[in-house]
């Protein structure tokens, strides 16, 4: 009966539960934490894109007063010095070879950061520079220098069995998937279009650079306070590395200053833990922003797409050949490649498909997860080409998309979850809001794009909800608060089920010694998966409350409900403290509820069925300064199919951020390498969007049909708003100017060149 009651908290724009601590400066991030006796670490990094490391002499550094330990890769004989979620190919400190500029080669822990930094100057490294590959072309050329010469060890990711390195090449994984007869379908199509698109390497630039604080205790247990999006994955890495049982490793996650994927999987935690082990002290490693550029980036890509359509606009076949540059170490790159490529056909009904993608090593900063996880690269290609197709067929781009959209309940791929949203609604709202059918100003162009993305599967989320003797509630879950608002959303879900105000609920920060397993805070999954686990755990508590109250009141449990912190029945009401006192015979004890979401493996192509499909549409209105090539996005509308917005205020904020982050790689951002040397590895030369880059009109809307598998019909969001931005903007630019850009970002110079090549009109 309570399920039918109107929602009280869920769906409300509740202010975030951590807002006050954040506006008062009280919120604590890793670099705000201090332990007694704590040492500070600094990293010596390779100045070469590729070099043999013949000798590292840390003796002078180690002897400097105030230095507690100076380590090189060769010193790490007392642990397994490799880590990595897909392949364990990344040494904690370079061993024999440095594979990218900025790779950690040695590290120092000292009494303070200055002493550590000065000690780095005393480390002698004998490098022998090696030929480097810094582009896909170089890496894939016959006889190219190899970034890795041996076969990498498998990592810990669930479906590592599917990873296929190609020995003797720089290809660390190849993913192929086909349905139907794509070649024949394209041969028989009325219109076949083919083109190649490029997506740049970009930096997450989370405001907080990577940081970790590690301490071993007297029992040999390790605690790491880490700015990580998945503490449980970091725990696995450290357990393997040090040969310690999982239960003796504790990962605590304070607030994160942004993540966007940059803090998924182990980054600096292995090195910090190794330094703590070597020094016998707590060690804090706070990377600089410049070091973030040397830690992880988005996988750049070159994508060739062929689409075949019938004259009536029906898509009949798509082939996609995608090469992703995953940099010097695989990180989660192979998964990015396979996940991204899997949905290369977007939200459209395509009977014949052939996908072939490669993850390619280069001597550059490792590529990893970044909001969108491989999908933005392919959506850029497909959604651009669809507009070309519309143009060639004389069709309206919105209509052409609408005609081919997968419908609610339709199969995307055999064995995978049927489509669980109504993208036609999102696309329709986006088009309407941008005034698609109205005549616009002559100097403005409009464009649309849509996206579809699977979430990680199989995956597991567990949660515990505790109802305390005073009627307050603690939610124990390991979804990481990194700005998206998950603590607030989880608190809302528990508050809804247990009929208490949000203020009575505490969402405990992730701590693997306290909060239960959660696979990862990424893939837009927390509200759906962790949120569902919290809902189940709260319902478990509710059932316990009903059992106690039913017996006490002598009424059947089905006649009970929860309201205002009490169990209510026609016969009367029992406030939670009373129920607990009845249950335990005293004021003490608590009710503990448990929720587990673990859908397991399925016959779906990637080994698990996505828990939901993330779907969104975007519409842009742009202008261009034809003399300079500078594009301005004047208006932007994002519409995401979210099932239910548990907290519309937070969701709107997250999606606005997604759009603006998307504008970054669309118009401004690119890590520029020259022969393996990064030319713009600081904010002085790498430009992220500022307030004055935001469209005058920026609107983020939602479609809410409560059709998601998450709590109260919610499904994942947060990545969808970013993905359509590039193609929507480029499509708008093409409709305005007749110029089709294939390479991102759309810098003024690039657009100016294209306009010039077109000639004046």
């Amino acid at each position: 009966m309570s399920r039918r009651a109107p929602l009280r908290v869920v769906g409300q724009p509740v202010p975030r539960v951590d807002a006050v601590e954040k506006v008062t400066g009280r919120a604590r991030y890793v670099t705000d934490l201090v332990l007694p006796g704590m040492a500070h670490a600094k990293i010596l990094r390779s100045p070469y894109a590729h070099a043999r490391v013949r000798r590292v002499d840390t003796a002078r550094a180690g002897a400097r007063p105030g230095v507690i330990a100076a380590l090189s890769g060769a010193d790490l004989t007392w642990c397994d010095p490799y880590f990595g979620p897909a392949f364990r190919d990344r040494p904690v400190l370079a061993i024999d070879v440095a594979r990218y500029e900025g790779e950690p080669v040695a590290a120092v822990a000292a009494v303070d950061e200055l002493t550590a930094a000065e000690a780095l100057d005393l480390i002698d490294v004998d490098y022998e520079p090696l030929p480097a590959v810094s582009t896909l072309e170089e890496a894939l050329a016959p006889g190219a220098p190899l970034v890795h010469t041996g076969e990498p060890l498998a990592g810990h990711f669930a479906d590592l069995a599917t990873l296929r390195p190609q020995p003797g090449t720089n290809v660390c994984h190849r993913f192929q998937w086909a349905r139907g007869e794509a070649a024949a379908a394209l041969a028989g199509a009325d219109l076949v279009l083919e083109d190649t698109f490029r997506f740049p390497p970009v930096q997450h630039y989370a405001m907080e650079p990577h940081a970790a604080l590690a301490a071993w205790d007297e029992t040999g247990a390790l605690t790491v306070w880490a700015g990580t999006q998945n503490p449980y994955s970091v725990r696995v890495e450290l357990a393997k590395m040090f040969g310690v049982p999982l239960g003796r490793i504790r990962i605590v996650v304070p607030h994160l200053g942004g993540g966007f994927g940059s803090k998924t999987y182990a980054k600096l935690e292995p090195l910090t833990a190794a330094l703590a082990r070597a020094t016998g002290r707590p060690v804090r490693l706070a990377a600089s922003a410049a070091e973030a550029f040397q830690t992880v980036r988005r996988c750049s890509a070159r994508v060739s797409v062929r689409v075949g359509l019938r004259r009536d606009g029906t898509l009949v076949g798509v082939t996609c050949d995608a090469d992703y540059d995953v940099g010097a170490y695989a990180d989660i790159g192979p998964r990015v490649v396979q996940k991204g490529t899997y949905t290369a056909t977007g939200p459209y009904r395509v009977p014949h498909v052939a996908l072939d993608a490669r993850a390619v090593y280069t001597n550059t900063t490792p590529g990893g997860a970044f909001r969108g996880f491989g999908v933005p690269q392919l959506a850029w290609a497909l959604e651009s080409l669809l507009d070309v197709a519309a143009d060639r067929l004389g069709r309206d781009p919105v209509d052409l998309r609408r005609q081919n959209l997968l419908a609610h309940g339709e199969e995307f791929a055999p064995g995978d979850t049927p489509i669980d949203g109504k993208l036609e609604e999102s696309l329709g709202h986006a088009a309407q809001a941008i005034g698609w059918t109205q005549t616009g100003a002559a100097d403005r162009g409009r464009g649309v794009a849509a996206m579809l993305k699977a979430s990680v599967a199989p995956s597991v989320s567990e949660a515990i909800v505790r109802l305390h003797a005073d009627g307050s509630v603690a939610v124990l879950a390991s979804a990481v608060e990194m700005g998206q608002g998950t603590r607030t959303v989880l608190a809302q879900i528990a508050a809804e089920v247990l009929a208490v105000p949000v203020a009575r609920v505490t969402a405990v920060p992730p701590d693997t010694a306290i909060t239960p397993y959660d696979q990862t805070t990424s893939s837009s999954r927390s509200t759906t998966m962790t949120g569902r686990a919290v809902q189940m755990a709260a319902e478990d508590v509710r059932e316990q409350l009903f059992r106690v109250a039913a017996e006490h009141l002598g009424v059947p449990a089905r006649e009970l409900a929860l309201a205002d912190g009490a169990v209510v029945a026609a016969a009367g009401r029992l406030a939670y403290p009373e129920v607990l006192a009845i249950r335990f015979g005293m004021s003490g004890g608590e009710l503990i509820g448990r929720g587990v979401v673990a859908p397991g493996r399925t016959a779906a192509p990637l080994g698990g069925s996505t828990p939901f499909w993330e779907m969104a549409a975007g519409a842009a209105e742009v202008s261009v300064d034809e003399e300079t090539g500078a594009v301005r996005v004047e208006r932007y509308v994002s519409v995401a199919d979210v099932g239910r917005a548990v907290n519309p205020l937070l969701l709107e904020g997250q999606d606005e951020g997604g759009v603006v982050q998307g504008l970054g790689h669309t118009l401004l951002e690119e890590m520029v390498y020259e022969e393996g040397h990064l030319l713009n590895g600081t904010l002085l030369a790498y430009r992220v969007p500022r307030a004055d880059d935001v469209p005058r009109a920026l609107e983020c809307r939602f479609v809410e049909n409560a059709d998601g598998s998450g709590p109260f019909g919610a499904k994942g969001a947060g990545e969808g708003s970013l993905i359509p931005v590039s193609p929507a903007v480029a499509n708008a630019l093409a409709r305005l100017t007749g110029v089709r850009l294939r390479d991102l970002p759309l810098t003024p110079e690039r657009v100016w060149r294209a306009l010039r090549a077109r000639g004046s009109r």
Binding site: P15, R16, M207, E208, H255, G657, A691
Partner: protein, 169 residues
């Protein structure tokens, strides 16, 4: 050189409280605030005066504490995010950020708040253009800035109403 011998006494008023310290000439204000005074609100991000995460006010002016020698603050008054609220009562700028949903990960928030405070102190009724001009050096990677700009304009309105003489309708 002997660093301890080079320490210099400085006298600061931080969030209204007098503080006497001895600091190295090369100590950055950000580190002194965070490490010596345990005021962790100001954050280090770009470390190059681009992003604004370390913004504090020195005699009312916004500065990048990451690129400001602590000795330069000698004899000056410093306001950090910890000094914005009066007791448990949030400053109107803080209130506006909470209400507008202008806070996400929170790492840029202290700098944004102090930048806003400095803006409104010198320009109580800024236009949207004034706000954008002032925010040129304040980066946020989570929000789309829209809610931050709205919060700033709302804070200005709230302050204006608070200080405007009561009108009879």
């Amino acid at each position: 050189m002997d660093a301890s011998a080079a320490r210099e006494p400085i006298h600061l008023v931080v969030n209204g409280r007098a503080r006497d310290l001895a600091v190295e000439p090369y100590a950055l204000l950000l580190d002194v605030l965070r490490d010596d005074l345990d005021l962790k609100g100001a954050k280090r991000s770009c470390d190059s005066q681009v992003c604004g995460a370390c913004t504090v006010l020195v005699d009312g002016l916004a500065v990048s504490a990451c690129t400001y020698l602590a000795v330069e603050a000698d004899g000056r008054s410093i306001l950090t995010v910890e000094g914005l609220a009066e007791g448990e009562s949030l400053h109107p700028v803080q209130r506006a950020f909470v209400d507008a949903g202008a806070v996400q990960c929170g790492f840029c928030t202290p700098g944004m708040l102090l930048t806003t405070r400095a803006l409104l102190d010198e320009n109580p009724a800024p236009t949207r253009e004034d706000v954008l001009h002032y925010l040129r050096g304040s980066l946020c990677r989570c929000t789309g800035y829209r809610k931050i700009v709205e919060a700033i304009l709302a804070a200005a309105r709230a302050r204006g109403q608070a200080s405007a003489p009561a009108r009879v309708e």
